[in-house]
Amino acid sequence: MTVSTTSTAPAAALGVLPRADGSAKYSHAGYTVTASVNGPIEAQRRDEHPYEAHVDVIVRPAAGVGGTRERHLESILQSSLSQIILVKNFPRSLIQIVLQVEDSPENDYVNTKLVQASLNFSIMPALFQTAVLALLSAGVPIRATATATAVAIVPQDGTKRSVVDPSPRDVEIAQSVHVLAFTSHDELLLAESEGDFTVKEWDDVYETAKDVCCRPVPTKEGMEMVLDDEHTNGPDLRHFLRSTMENKVASDLHWK
């Protein structure tokens, strides 16, 4: 089984929405997502929890009205983000995360139906990553940072190939698609799978994803990156996250 990736390096900008507490715009693998984070703010009575903050995630497709698929994505994101946010610090309050999809890669071979939007499962990593960046931008206390990726198992010439950050075309022909997220402590935070796969395949996917998400932070010399030719699959998300935050902190603390 070979591993391949089609995507380019991710790009992100923080604080793009001047009126939100925190915001981020993130583009990767053809997806562009903008997120806003507001909180902790007053929770509605029905969402109020006496001992912890309610995390509200809203996913809005670029075109068309959201449906059950979006609600499903929201509930997955909500439960995994609640794990890293220190919800106990803000009882009875609300942390609201709104994810607006701006662009998703188009499958040039199909004319999609758009009025009833149904977001593709493989958008998950982009949504997740944008949410984490926006939380960092808002300064909402979190336990650890986290990175996420999608891996598809695509049959090819009788063998199977796993693709990191699959394109819509890959997803269409894939046997199974998996989304995994890891915290900065290398803990598995989220694992969602669709399709047929064996335990062995899942193990492979896990290793691939962990490799993308949990690459050790390069030392100051940056030599490791060059020498380590095994790690050429996919972008180094953890490094990306750190350098993005470095820029943000540097510009915030320019006066120091």
Partner: protein, 297 residues
């Protein structure tokens, strides 16, 4: 949902006092817009408009569908405006607020009712097949004057948009995927723009263009005028509020025309720039014969 915070009495008084002295908090002239910027997305039909700290994203999309029974010769054209909590936590999902209804009505009147898009050209087979064009307006950041920004974004997105090409041969309708044939632009008739005046004070004697959110919260009335560069009014909406001399309203309309012409030429320029940028790669070169597939329509 938490209520929208109201400005303090000090702020209200100060803003009014300053406006009476023709001073705006951001140093603008009364009839001056904030910097208007537009970026197109990688795809066709995505327009991201910023007006100061107000930011609106519009995305146009097309779908094949059946025309309405009472209008068999027309395609379908809709503008969807929903303010999400991203705009402000005071907006709730699936609970339309007054602001939302008003914006959506204004866009509807300005763009749809004024016949900016030729809906007849969207019809493919009378009574059976037509295009349904939909524009989704997403307000990402609200710092006043959503209407002007949203209208600009909608017009920009629609003019930038390309729908899949179709052909009719021997009664067989073929819809080509983007891989087969380069998508085609919509049949566009004229470009209307909204210009919103805000009136201040008991007498409504101070009139200001492109109000910020703070100014909107203290204004006593507003009037949105939609025009195209040919000097045709598409819509005027002064929905109550402080009484304004009829003569002043006529002057407002004349100034609005100047602003609309200005927006029109800006949009033309940006569209041309984007077209040049896209053309460079020679998009058609990317397509390879290997990818030809039987169209699914």
């Amino acid at each position: 949902m938490p209520r929208e915070a109201e400005p303090s009495l000090n702020e209200k008084q100060f803003v009014l006092q300053a406006l009476h002295d023709s001073v705006r908090l951001d140093g603008r002239e009364l009839e001056q817009y904030r910097p208007l910027e537009l970026t197109f997305g990688d795809q066709y039909g995505v327009a991201d408009v910023t007006l100061g700290k107000t930011r609106v994203l519009a995305k146009a999309s097309a779908e094949l569908t059946v025309p309405y029974a009472d209008r068999p010769l027309d395609g379908i054209f809709n503008i969807a405006t929903e303010l999400s909590p991203m705009t402000s936590p005071a907006f709730e999902v699936n609970r339309p607020t007054e602001t939302e209804v008003l914006i959506s009505r204004l866009l509807e009147k300005t763009v749809r009712r004024s016949g900016a898009l030729d809906t007849e050209s969207l019809c493919l087979v009378a009574g059976q097949k037509c295009w349904s064009i939909r524009v989704d307006v997403h307000v990402l950041s609200h710092d006043g004057n959503l209407i002007d920004a949203a209208c600009f974004a909608v017009v920009a997105a629609l003019r930038h948009f390309r729908k899949p090409d179709t052909s009719m041969e021997g009664g067989v309708l073929t819809v080509y995927t983007p891989a087969e044939r380069e998508p085609v632009p919509l049949s566009w008739l004229h470009s209307p723009f909204c210009v919103t005046w805000s009136f201040f004070g008991e007498e409504g004697d101070v009139a200001v263009l492109d109000a910020t959110w703070m100014e909107e919260q203290v204004r006593s009335g507003s009037c949105t005028i939609s025009l195209n560069k040919h000097g045709e009014i598409c819509q005027i909406a002064k929905l109550g509020g402080v009484p304004v001399e009829a003569v002043s309203l006529l002057q407002c309309t004349n100034v609005a025309l100047v602003k609309a012409k200005d927006m029109s030429s800006k949009l033309d320029r940006w569209l041309a720039e984007d077209a040049r940028r896209r053309d460079k790669g020679g998009l058609l070169a990317e397509l390879s014969a290997e990818n030809d597939r039987v169209p699914d329509m």
